[in-house]
Assembly symmetry: D2
Homo-oligomer: 364 residues x 4
């Protein structure tokens, strides 16, 4: 359980770090969407390991195969299945982990929950699972893009190196200019140095990612439990290594008074807009037409190349040296994943909104 | 859509601020649980308006009626329906809101999404809807309590008045000692003054709530999308006025290095524990037996008794004076609501865990 | 669990035969639908007991209250809750059933499953629960009617008295002309006599109901698991006392050869139609624009006023005399219930179809 | 949508007749189940084409690959994905179907619903999709078998050749002794001749399948919408070519009176049993410990090798000659599919029952 996401554009993810591969099925993809593997591959390329010197050297080209749901270049409306085979697996690198639990990884909790686990590369708990999300998200993003909804995601802080606030939304090119995916060049180079330093020391660093969505119409999202921000929060906290989520003014906004925090409405040239946007683009769980923006906290990678105290599967105290390839900082590779999850949340709410509020004659 | 929560202990919430009432149906409540209205009422009393001078004076006694699912003092296993009638409604107080959109409320987004809304007291977007959550959560908490899982929730900060970190979990009595629900007496009285000051000025303040869960066994939660923290994040961001969620070390933890952040395992007298708990009680989305703790940000109440610029439903710029009864600070009343949502997330994962991992003979 | 139906127009049903009442919540009802209690009450009146001398004399007027989701005569798009209070309950009539299990009722299975039951009138297993379905179905039918989809349901057979095949769809008036709800007057009077005879003997009879839907557009329904006929079969077999379902040619059609059974396509004046309709209006689980028709088998009422062998809750062999008010034949009252469930299935598939296949620009 | 089944043991099916292959993901499979491909392959072998002279000659060996969810011979509890590649596809055989709609197939409805379809072999509407169900059902059956629940399915009638009622449940060997899967040898040889005759004439025949489940404990199933028989009815009507479902006494039982139809309870040597079983093993939607049995109607295969009138995708009247490989009778191959769907329904209800009714201390 827990391996599906969405209600109308529903994805089911499967696969382990070291095994046959990673796959995803989308049930509910609209028919007649022009599509082929080239729409998906670039997103996986942004996520894949080995793309720069600040990411893990594991060499996976992560070629996606669309096995079903597509015919003569258009989606069929029936399930779209995608598969990425695992290639550069080195299960023997994980022999020590067979019996020893890595600190702050899921080895111990999986073992206790299921009584059995695939210890190679973390098995199902590996971030390699996010391939499924990115592949599905690529298709959601394609559809959203056709409706002028654009999602811009970038690294805002690594460790204590923080980019200045960006008034304008950076372009994809600006974001991709640095391997850190921070669009501010000066900050980016400081960040890169910090990551390399951590890497050299066998250590790791965390930080925060910002996501900004523009072009959202008013009305997406649901009241009560499935508020847009609630589904986004779930989407983000479902990502490996995330520890926090805030939307709009977030934690900082709670230091303001109501009179300072409220976003006043104003008719601006015929359009109802707000003069400020501390709400972050949602009110009552529903998009209000302003920029939707939120921030996600990623902890420092749990894998460090140091001696660490732990216990083994017989409960004996022991020691473990982190080995294997790893990312000294997950933030850059997290960017396309955050983007993908955002797209999946949005497409689902779009479809729900249309089904209930825009398809009946009396709603004219 | 969006008015149900949970998969096995599933609740469906309904009702508006001013109308027949607020209700909830629980489908999946275990049979044979000893229960009556007295198990639920105290939780609603902690949530209800008018309980102290720092909450809204709206006078609702919020008496719950259990209409179905109960027989001779025990649950039947079939749907448990609860109803709280609205009493002290003053719809006329909202006449101005019929055509004017209150800033940072959901009036505008509901109007645009649905093309029709109940403007009285915010209708469905009113926090009065949380009655449904608290009533259902009370039952979840009763069951969890029977399994030694205890949830402690309290106000940690109002505006910029922050309580010291509490090593020990405060008792319910300590929390309830102040109308602020901050268990540190000194901080509590400062907070109270701050809220009253805001009230006097027709303004409002926000802050943060902390939730700490003890007694959780190892193994609750699911991998990938339904991680315990993901479902908690969704639960919290589904609450009115929330802007952020963080678990364990949260945003602050991202300033640490991996070597500083990892929670080392140790066999402590036969039990596998971690020497620190920056993870916040979960690893890979699954409880690890340590204290589960998280923090929620609540913005300052949007209703302020001041002149505010806005637009009306014809798109004309206008002004609005907040009127009606309101809470100058939602934090104290948010405490039982956070608790309820936490209980609902936990009971659901408990049932899922048992169904899959603890009921088959080969799982011995 | 098991008390919700539908995915986009989702209903949650609750309540027992003798207790506070029966209720239903609809989540997903489209906003801006003109509605009031008068749209629902006539459907409940067709279902209610005591409506004729061939139904149970239990005197319930079953007045519906719409408690939420409605404002100034239009739906809000948020949950629509309806409540019917129980009135003429005579729990003492069921004293004997407290310890004795009625044959072919659910007393025994509920007791064993849940370890606790409300024995009064069958509790949750009572057909009184179908009030929830009829109330929700009334709203679905109103919407479908606005889209020219009409559902006609009638009794075709009681015991061995079978109506001739009706080429034309009977009007509601023709169906309602007889308390049997068989639109063929001659057959109806024979049926009525048969039911009264069974009643006089303290016995009961069963039969079959036919449902015919016209005006369905091509394209509603889903492939694989959620075929239209699959969801209809589930809907029907979820009704108390049903033992069978067949669509189109049904069981009889399996005596034909493929060459006899196929429905040939023909362009009839610009419209693609089939020359026969053994398929019953669906192909591959999706409506094909022809009349959708199916048949449901209802067993004879389990309550008979005779001595019957049974066991008590201590497992001792004993005897029971059926008492209490009951229907000697459920068929007439089943008609509006079958209609309601059909409407619920159809509205859900309509919304799903629009969400996926008719709302995107590239589907033009 | 519509490609998932089950709530706790949830399967997602994907793939088309001619394309990459057919696959299925199981989310919710219990961990620690000993498993490998050999547990699944025999079930697929019973379903596969080309297994006898009365089935289609399409030559697919349908080898299953378990790609995820398995490690060192035991299930992990995380998603179990299985893939069967398509081999002997002859898309060119379907060229005529590219523009012409085959009568009583889903070509027309898919085209109208989705605006695009894979015409090769029926694409997603092909019965080849049932590979996914059989593969998943094999695992469900393995688990149920470990709990002494056994499912026996066989062909009872082909065209008008009907087997006598079998008091004893036939063994798998007896069923498999004939390619017809009718366990009565005399009837089986008549059936075989009838199928071959139809085949010779380019025609097809239908019939009925019976499924009998033994060893079910009391208490599986849910009230109201998810009755055991409701979920079974849905499961069966979701199969290609099915037109009817009846449980227990079915349509015939509606010719009896209540006094004849009721199943009387009796304490038989300490066990509560019923003296007859017209209910078919369920009461109020919940298993009562008696044999669960039901019957499914399969229409004659729509593909016949004859000239048939139809229309093309421009709406012009035309003619079509059925070509390609096909089954003159689907019944024999339907047997393992009915079995699989039954197992999937049962395992899901078992898990739900345990989660709600058997895991809490107060249910002792």
């Amino acid at each position: 359980m827990g391996n599906s996401f969405g209600s109308l554009f529903k994805i089911s993810s499967w696969g382990e770090s070291h095994g046959g591969g990673i796959g995803v099925v989308i049930d509910g993809c609209p028919p007649r969407l022009p599509l082929n593997e080239d729409d998906v591959q670039p997103f996986l390329d942004r996520r894949r390991p080995g793309q720069s010197k600040i990411t893990t050297p594991r060499d996976e080209n992560d070629r996606v195969e669309i096995i079903s749901g597509l015919f003569e270049g258009m989606t069929l409306g029936t399930p779209l299945a995608m598969l990425v085979r695992n290639k550069d697996a080195r299960p023997q690198a994980y022999d020590e982990m067979k019996s020893k639990f890595r600190p702050s990884h899921a080895d111990y909790t999986y073992q206790k929950k299921y009584g059995h686990r695939n210890h190679e590369g973390g098995g199902r708990s590996s971030a390699r699972e996010t391939i499924a999300r990115v592949a599905a998200g690529a298709i959601a993003q394609k559809i959203l893009g056709m409706e002028q909804v654009s999602i811009s995601t970038y690294v805002e802080r690594i460790h204590d190196i923080q980019a200045p606030n960006l008034k304008d939304i950076p372009s994809l090119n600006e974001i991709e200019a640095s391997p850190t995916r921070c669009p501010d060049p000066e900050t980016a180079s400081l960040m890169e140095a910090r990551v390399l330093e951590a890497k050299k020391n066998g250590d790791s660093v965390g930080g925060s990612v910002v996501c900004r969505v523009n072009g959202l119409p008013v009305g997406w999202g649901s009241p009560v439990f499935d508020r847009l921000e609630a589904d986004l929060a779930k989407a983000m906290l479902s990502l490996p290594a995330t520890k926090g989520f805030e939307i709009g003014s977030g934690f900082q906004g709670t230091f303001l008074k109501g009179s300072e925090h409220n976003d006043l409405f104003e008719n601006m040239g015929g359009e109802i807009r707000t003069t400020t946007n501390l709400s972050g683009g949602v009110q009552g769980g529903i998009s209000n037409g302003e920029e939707l923006y939120f921030r996600v906290a990623f902890k420092p990678t749990a894998t460090v190349l140091k001696h660490q105290q732990t216990v083994d599967d017989e409960g004996k105290n022991t020691e473990l040296i982190g080995r294997g390839r790893h990312d000294p900082c997950v933030l850059p590779r997290a960017v396309p994943i955050v983007e993908a999850m955002t797209a999946l949340v949005l497409i689902d709410h779009r479809m729900r909104h249309h089904a209930q509020c825009e398809s009946f004659p009396f709603q004219g």
